[in-house]
Amino acid sequence: MKEQLQKDFNNSIKNLSLSQKDIEIKKFCLDNFLDKGFPSRKEEDWRFSDLNQIIKNNIGELSFYNDQASTNKVDTSVFVDGLEHNKIVFINGRIEKIDFDYEKKDQIEIIDQSETINEFKNSNSLSDLNNAFTKKCFKILVKKGYQLVKPLIIYHTTNSKIWSKNINLRLNFELDKDSSLRLIDLFNDTSEKNFLNIFYNFELKENAVLKNYKVDKLENKNIKYSFNNIDQDKNSISETFILSSGSNFSKNEINCNLNGIYASAFVNGVFSLNNDKHHEIRSIINHLTENTKSFQLIKSVLDESSKAVYQGKIFVNSDAQKTDGYQLSKAILLNKESEFNAKPELEIYADDVKCSHGSASGSLNEDSIFYLMSRGLSYQQSRELLINGFLLDVVEKITDSEIKNLIKNMIGIKE
């Protein structure tokens, strides 16, 4: 793999007009990655999902060089109907379209930040890989007091014309004071077996509101890793919803720093898996100052020999008095072969806090099925009804009603 990395790296540098300094930084990142390699189960954060092994078994050798000279045709059929929205379209790792038609042009700024390197806390070797290979990196700045009229949908599309086996994406967002953004990530993958490595960085200023919905619904063979870093100032709110279902392997990481008082973070997730899928959500909520709040709810329904992992950590700094932290993960195992692993973690250094977590896993309640069947439903219907209700609980946590309905339709959950 090392020669391939080096070769592809040289290729990709050649085509970019970078200053000597930038090249050195990218080289440094590459060397870091070469040194560490893909994370394996020897690392505590990856003990339930050995990425190194998963890539080896599913893809084999990766290639990294992605020629972005030619444009890809934007397939408009994937666009969401019935909801007016702004768009960013990524096709095979290349930004094809940025379109904020519904917004005031002077309130949103798109800044080319390709030279800057993101340094994430609580990150891993994949951020080095990302930094070494990302070409275009934009920062989307929502200016003071502006609240986007329509949601922004980011389409992540891969198709058979893809150049390399590995795609690295990076986007930065800054939400200035009193601004708000609704963001949906939609994955449409038709390519065969690639490794997607996505890094988002959000900076939320005072009173800013971010709602991020990640929807990975379409069946695909990809291996996906996504890292969200969220820095929150005073009184800001972040809401993250993850629907983890389509990819072969997927790991979503949320690292949220509550830096300002009264900041709050919500992370909700649904795993709905079958076949041999293996998905993970790992969240780290850092309560760094007093009067901050976090809430997490993760539910999984696992069929066939699928496997879900939830690692959630609530960290409370010694200054973060009056913290309110809550975390709950529940799983239903439908098949003998399915597996649920959880590591809900609390690390607390302040005494005046209210933190709790709960985790439960098991089979569908036979009594409930009996109850429904005695009222005339078939076994299959009762099962579906119970699962529907189980997952609805999480979807109901979505605060935006428009998007809530959209997501309900997408995953076929009835009220």
């Binding site: 072969e337 597996e339 607390i348 709790s356 985790s359």
Partner: protein, 480 residues
């Protein structure tokens, strides 16, 4: 001054902090094959035992000291320790208690462990381990009548080699982790218990461990075998003198429960915790593991951890037999600069197995406490259940309380439930108690005891009283 106050004043400082001047025989400093041969030789062990030790030592040489734990400690120089220390008078073992060195007896009296008369009144059979050797075992005759074997493990190696050979290392093999392997290589003494088929042990069996000599590691090994249909309740207590340097205690405890047998293992751990500035104290790195080998067997761990500079242990249950039950009840209290990383592992292998974990952690001062646990339900463990509850209480903003549970469910017919909370003592509760005339410290003591009640109830009577007092004392000075 009322009695309680007097008692508290009496106990305020670590009252077991004295050391006894007794001439010792020590093995040469350091760790090598010669030292292991020396230990084996002085204990007149058969060759298979020496081979067991050397095999472990071979393995130990390639192992690295683990570093994933939360409490960090300065590197231990394993060559700078004495691996064997015994009172000189023990070289030729006394035949009865009357022949014991009076100084030893005095030591145990100070510790409140009556080896002679009082023992008879209390009806607890005691095995006392002083530094590296077992010095006295009481009530032997009565137990022998029932066929129960309760003796130092060194004696068991001589007298019951077939049992020791069969079970020693069957739960904690010589190829286990760093400290367990070290113990397998150099263990000196400990208790051996065998309860024959269908026998319900008529009294509590108890061991008292004491580290006396300085620079000595204590490596004891306990092996308890409960044969089919038997029952035993076993207590363990530990103290050490106050010394400025840290001392290492790396024990191995193996429990084996066959069909329908039940073992209840209780620990009140009060090793010297170090002084207020965190100087000195014991490193308590213990491996405790129970195997529910037979059907319908049960192993229950209860622990009250108040001492030691660093406690790092996870008493575990391997639920291999169908319908077997594992329980873990724990109170861990850390104050000043103490650190604890403790919890349990419940490994479900058999069908219809059940486990329950109740853990209460209290941290005060500048201490740090971690609950770390594993619940693993394998794909064959149909219809198994686990319930886990771990609560932490924080006192002051310099301490930390952490929960790191690992939950693995590979069986769709099994259920796991886990709950954890972290909070502080509420102002209302304190106010309520104080309004009724308790001073703040008494109020905290009362509330904490209530917080721990679920676990304290699991202890045998005599220990429960001691533990309750200990809980109060460990938190002295943490309020206000």
């Amino acid at each position: 001054m009322d009695n309680r106050q007097k008692e508290i004043n009496n106990l305020k400082d670590y009252k077991y902090g004295f050391s006894t001047d007794i001439e010792n025989i020590q093995a040469p400093k350091g760790l090598n094959e010669d030292v292991i041969k020396f230990i084996s030789n002085i204990k007149k062990e058969p060759t298979w035992m020496l081979e067991f030790r050397l095999k472990a030592f071979e393995r130990f040489k390639v192992l690295k000291e683990p570093d994933w734990q939360k409490p960090k400690f300065p590197k231990i120089d394993y060559q700078d320790l004495y691996y064997y220390s015994a009172p000189k008078s023990m070289k030729d073992k006394p035949k009865s208690l009357d022949e014991l060195d009076p100084k030893l007896l005095e030591t145990y009296k100070k510790l409140g462990i009556p080896l002679q008369e009082q023992a008879r009144l209390n009806g607890i059979a005691v095995d006392a381990v002083f530094d590296s050797v077992s010095v006295a075992t009481t009530f032997k005759d009565e137990l022998t009548k029932q066929g129960i074997i309760f003796c130092p493990i060194s004696e068991a190696i001589q007298n019951h080699p077939e049992l020791v050979k069969k079970y020693l290392g069957s739960v904690i093999p010589t190829s286990d982790h760093f400290f367990a392997t070290l113990n397998s290589a150099v263990f000196t003494d400990g208790s051996f218990v065998y309860i024959p088929k269908g026998v319900r042990c008529p009294m509590e069996l108890s061991t008292y461990f004491r580290i006396n000599a300085s620079n000595t590691g204590q490596f004891e090994r306990t092996l308890i075998i409960a044969d089919k249909g038997s029952y035993v309740s076993y207590l363990e207590g530990c103290t050490a003198p106050m010394r400025d340097e840290n001392q290492l205690h790396a024990a191995n405890v193996e429990l084996i429960a066959l069909d329908d047998a039940e073992i209840k293992y209780s620990t009140v751990q009060n090793w010297y915790p170090g002084d207020k500035d965190g100087k000195g104290g014991i490193y308590n790195f213990v491996t405790k593991r129970g195997l529910c080998k037979g059907k319908n067997s049960k192993i229950s761990w209860t622990q009250v951890e108040t001492g030691s500079a660093i406690t790092w242990k996870y008493p575990s249950c391997i639920l291999k037999g169908d319908n077997s039950v594992g329980e873990f009840y724990s109170i861990a209290i850390t104050n000043n600069h103490q650190k604890a990383d403790t919890g349990t592992k419940m490994i479900h292998l058999g069908k219809n197995t059940k486990s329950k974990i109740i853990s209460k952690g209290i941290s005060a001062g500048s201490s740090d406490m971690t609950y770390r646990g594993l619940v693993d339900i394998s794909s064959k463990a149909k219809n198994s259940t686990n319930y886990t509850q771990c609560d932490s209480l924080l006192m002051g903003n310099k301490c930390g309380a952490h929960t790191v549970p690992y939950i693995k469910n590979k069986n769709s017919e099994s259920n796991i439930a886990h709950e954890a909370t972290t909070s502080k003592i509420s102002e209302e509760q304190l106010h309520y108690c104080q309004q009724r005339g308790l001073n703040p410290e008494e109020a905290v003591g009362l509330i904490v005891n209530g917080f721990c009640k679920e676990v304290l109830q699991q202890l045998p009577m005599e220990f429960a009283v001691e533990a309750q007092k200990l809980v109060g004392i460990s938190l002295e000075g943490s309020v206000g």
